[in-house]
């Protein structure tokens, strides 16, 4: 089956039925909603089973995709089932030109409106297979984690239903062969994030956060709708003539963008609109305000949705439609692209804000925003593969960090996330969580053997290589800041002496998100909670919860919490080896499996191949009536890039062929560049650790009073300044007033300007609504209607006096009128 000739790419059962991966979670969502409450584990077993099934299918698909790629490059070695992402890569033959592997597209006609037909189904390409596997894997682990974490919650079944639906939605989006299905998945994720953030909607803050998340993403979605429309009408004519599919088909859009015949106006406006949607969804610079507030949701939600999978949707969209962005923003030509600028700003803004947060999850949230900034920076500067690889690695260590935070709060600091009040010195009491945290932090900051290094460093390297030196330094600066705030978070949580709940005080009154679980304890709400239909067995779950707290004081979390954390930590350690470019020089090209399997090659493919081959034929289109823009004046073929190689992204493919991916550059790993970045990060660590110990440990008298004595030192410390953890008096008098102009400034700017504009827009819309309603609607439009009634009435009164009842007056009127009438007639006839 493997030694097929190059043209006929191998495909297998898994690749054919990729749509099953998404269907299973959605079906199980329905099952949970229907029978969840009556099952022994209240629906969570269906969720777990569906996630496990999806994972198995996804792994199978990945393996078959690898066989397919190998079969294309004439690779004759047979691939065992296990070597999917294992470290020891078989040496693939040095195929000079990597042939383009068409994604396996399998669609049905979903609905047709007029001449257009919309398919639903699956398209398995390198990128989508990778992310399908990633989402399935992470969802499974998070569901295992939340089995114990959310136990006792009143809406346990709802929680699992929503999380399974989310995974289903994300998988639908990932495998979408056309834009309409992508929008479908995109919006279902938006709905689930609304449901999950607002999981404990009793508190006003949670429901407001959920609303805010939904609105901000929805604002982005306007861009998605408009962008899809623009791209559709641009690409449709071309797609119909050449690829025999329509303007919605993602492959066709990719080919159209690089075909050189694409009208640059469509490309630019479409790309900008789509990027606005990505800014909204992936929490980039202007629209990132909802992500930290989204931490109001339970921790599994933050770890799954708001760190590794959902927020990555925006990056996925840019990666999937990369040719569109490549042509629109001429990424190839080395100009400062819109995406890269936004990415860079986000890195810095988020990293700075992470310093000021007391809530551990907020720190991680800002760190996610900053890492997303990295991915956007990579995509914006042509480093496609490192960015995608960073998605892959980032998912592991960020999710692990969040789960550790969850486990810390769950069993360490009595459900509170406040580092200042309730944590500290937990490393002795929670060893496993601590080690996992350390591994993930090292991975996040990009220390050598860990996953983060292979991807983040690659991004910085490629950014530099593609000619954006300034952005490279921004990336390095970001890495330093990451190291700094992660050290602070680690120190406050695990080192120093325990404070508050971590010290065992069982202050039951503190406000925390798990407060609802204790709602069931005796209290005014007793009848209501019993009445709550959602949770039939109110009585027993609440005492199960109590014994859990019997052993007071911080302790290591239960097994269900730890298994996912350990697995993730393992991946945080070794995931990097999936694409260790720096080692390529020693172990040969084959070691970079990401580059081989995930990155589509940029060699042109003849149209006939695209239409004929591939088991799932792309969507047939009845002759489209929808007139698209005349693609006569195609964009002038990308002229010779500045020093970059020619090929698909730069000059239009010969007529009759289409290429689906621009030829991106790959920076040659050089030892000193690696040293530079490692050195920078190490410096960041050193300073931060030193400062932490000195500052929080109060050991070094000299350092303690430093901030208020000399302006220069304070300026120096500005970036690495750790928390003003001083006793309250000292804090209020001096440090708070002076110490953090930038951090506080950014936070102020962020809350008052950006957030305020969003709220103001809402309030403004409401007030205009009220004004419009009162003035225009009621007074003018409605008034006119009532007015006509009033006028009729008034004239009636006026004329009433003539009806006086006196015969003589009638006579006078009668004859008078007759006379006047006669006179008029005479005058008219005479003249």
């Amino acid at each position: 089956m493997l030694a097929a000739e190059a043209a006929q790419l191998s495909s297998g059962w898994f690749l054919e039925n990729v749509w099953l991966i998404a269907l299973i979670p959605i079906v199980s969502f329905a099952l949970i909603i229907a029978f969840g409450k009556h099952l022994p584990m209240k629906g969570s077993e269906i969720g777990l089973a569906s996630m496990f099934a999806s994972l198995v299918l996804a792994t199978g698909t990945a393996i078959q995709w690898i066989q397919r790629t190998n079969s294309a490059s004439g690779g004759e070695e047979s691939l065992g089932m296990l070597q999917a992402f294992g470290r020891s890569m078989p040496r693939a033959t040095e195929g000079e030109v990597q042939p383009f592997i068409e994604p396996v597209v399998h669609t049905w006609v979903w609905w047709s409106n007029g001449p257009l037909e919309f398919g639903i189904g699956s398209s398995a390409s390198g990128l989508s297979v990778l992310l399908l596997w990633l989402v399935a894997f992470i969802s499974l682990l998070v569901q295992v984690f939340s089995l114990d974490y959310v136990r006792g919650d009143r809406r346990y079944t709802h929680f699992f239903a929503a999380i399974t639906l989310f995974s289903g939605g994300m998988l639908v989006m990932l495998m979408a062969p056309n834009m309409v299905q992508l929008i479908l998945g995109w919006e279902i994720m938006g709905l689930c994030s609304f449901l999950l953030i607002g999981h404990w909607w009793e508190e006003e803050a949670n429901s407001r956060a959920a609303l805010k998340a939904f609105f901000t993403v929805r604002v982005g979605d306007v861009g998605l709708l408009v962008g899809t429309a623009i791209i559709f009408f641009g690409a449709n004519a071309w797609a119909v003539d050449n690829l025999d599919s329509n303007g919605f088909d993602i492959n066709a859009i990719q080919a159209w963008a690089l075909s050189g015949e694409a009208n640059s106006k469509f490309l630019l406006w479409g790309a900008i609109a789509l990027f606005i949607a990505c800014i909204g969804k992936s929490g980039q610079f202007p629209l990132h305000t909802w992500l930290p507030d989204a931490m109001a949701g339970p921790t599994p939600v933050s770890s799954l949705l708001h760190s590794s999978t959902m927020v990555v949707a925006g990056v996925f969209l840019v990666a999937q439609l990369y040719p569109v962005f490549w042509q629109a923003f001429d990424i190839g030509q080395g100009s400062l692209t819109f995406i890269a600028v936004i990415g860079a700003i986000t890195i810095i803004i988020a990293a700075l804000l992470a310093f000021v947060q007391d809530d551990i999850k907020k720190v991680l949230a800002y760190s996610t925003v900053s890492q997303l900034g990295y991915m956007m920076l990579g995509l914006g500067t042509g480093a496609w593969l490192p960015a995608v690889f960073h998605i892959f690695t980032h998912a592991f260590f960020k999710c692990c960090l969040f789960l550790c935070a969850g486990s810390v709060s769950h069993s360490g600091s009595h459900h509170s996330f406040d580092m200042k009040k309730d944590m500290g010195g937990l490393r002795k009491k929670m060893p496993i969580t601590f080690t996992a945290w350390i591994i993930s932090t090292l991975a996040l900051t990009g220390i050598f053997p860990f996953a983060g290094f292979w991807s983040k460093d690659e991004i910085i390297d490629n950014v530099g290589n593609n000619g954006y030196t300034f952005l490279m330094w921004v990336g390095l600066g970001g890495a330093v800041l990451t190291a700094a705030y992660m050290t602070r978070a680690t120190y406050l949580t695990f080192f120093g002496e325990p404070r508050g709940a971590a010290a065992g005080e069982h202050n039951g009154d503190e406000h925390s998100e798990e407060h609802e679980m204790e709602h069931i304890s005796v209290g005014a709400h007793e009848p209501r909670s019993l009445g709550a239909a959602a949770n039939a067995h109110g009585a027993d779950d609440h005492d199960a919860h109590d014994d859990h707290h019997a052993s007071d004081g911080p302790h290591e979390s239960g097994p269900l919490l730890l298994i996912p954390i350990v697995i993730l930590a393992f991946f945080a350690l070794f995931a990097g080896l999936a694409n260790p470019t720096p080692l390529a020089s020693r172990f040969g090209e084959g070691i970079e499996s990401m580059k081989k399997y995930v990155e589509p090659s940029s060699t042109p493919v003849a149209f006939e191949d695209v239409i004929a081959t591939g088991p799932g034929e792309s969507i047939m289109l009845v002759d489209g009536r929808v007139s698209a823009s005349p693609n006569a004046e195609g964009a002038a073929g990308g002229e010779e890039g500045a020093g970059h190689s020619s090929g698909c992204g730069f000059d239009a493919p010969e007529p009759g062929t289409a290429c689906f991916f621009p030829s991106v550059t790959h920076a040659e790993p050089s030892f000193n560049k690696i040293l530079l970045s490692l050195g920078v990060v190490a410096a960041g660590y050193a300073v931060a650790i030193a400062f932490n110990i000195a500052f929080y440990g109060r050991k070094n008298k000299h350092l303690v009073g430093l901030t208020e004595r000399s302006k220069v030192m304070r300026g120096g410390f500005l970036f690495l300044k750790n928390k003003y953890y001083l006793d309250a008096l000292y804090e209020n008098v001096i440090v708070r007033a002076v110490a953090h102009p930038i951090a506080k400034g950014t936070n102020w700017f962020n809350q008052n300007v950006l957030d305020a504009t969003v709220n103001a827009a809402g309030e403004g819309a409401r007030r205009t609504g009220v004004w419009v309603y009162d003035n225009i609607d009621q007074r003018i439009v409605d008034g006119a209607v009532d007015g006509s009634g009033w006028i009729a009435e008034e004239t009636g009164h006026g004329l009433q006096s003539t009806q006086s009842g006196k015969v003589s007056q009638y006579g006078a009127l009668l004859f008078g009128a007759a006379a006047v009438g006669a006179i008029v007639l005479v005058l008219v006839n005479v003249s």
Partner: protein, 99 residues
């Protein structure tokens, strides 16, 4: 003999009748003025009959007379009833039909 004579005479009678209807307060006087008007009209009819030579005008004159008679009959009956209820037949007091 000019046709104009008859027509002018008719017109004059008509206008006097109109003045009578407007000016008079007493119901019977108003009825009389109406009689004047009716006679003016039938005078016109006869004049036109004479002018055009066809005797239709005279036929109409007769009809007018007949109708006028009927009208006076009923009119006076009503006036009597009003008088019996109101003891006065001043028209400006009878304004129940006011709108």
């Amino acid at each position: 003999m000019l046709a104009v004579n008859f027509l002018l005479l008719g017109a004059a009678l008509f206008c006097i009748g109109v003045y009578g209807v407007i000016a008079r307060r007493n119901a019977v006087m108003v009825l009389m003025s109406i009689e004047l008007i009716l006679n003016a009209v039938s005078l016109n009819f006869v004049a036109f009959a004479l002018m055009s030579g066809a005797i239709d005008g005279q036929v109409f004159a007769l009809y007018v007379i007949a109708v006028a008679a009927a009208e006076v009959g009923v009119g006076l009956a009503m006036v009597l009833m009003i008088y019996r209820n109101r003891k006065s037949i001043a028209l400006d007091e009878l304004s129940e039909m006011k709108g």
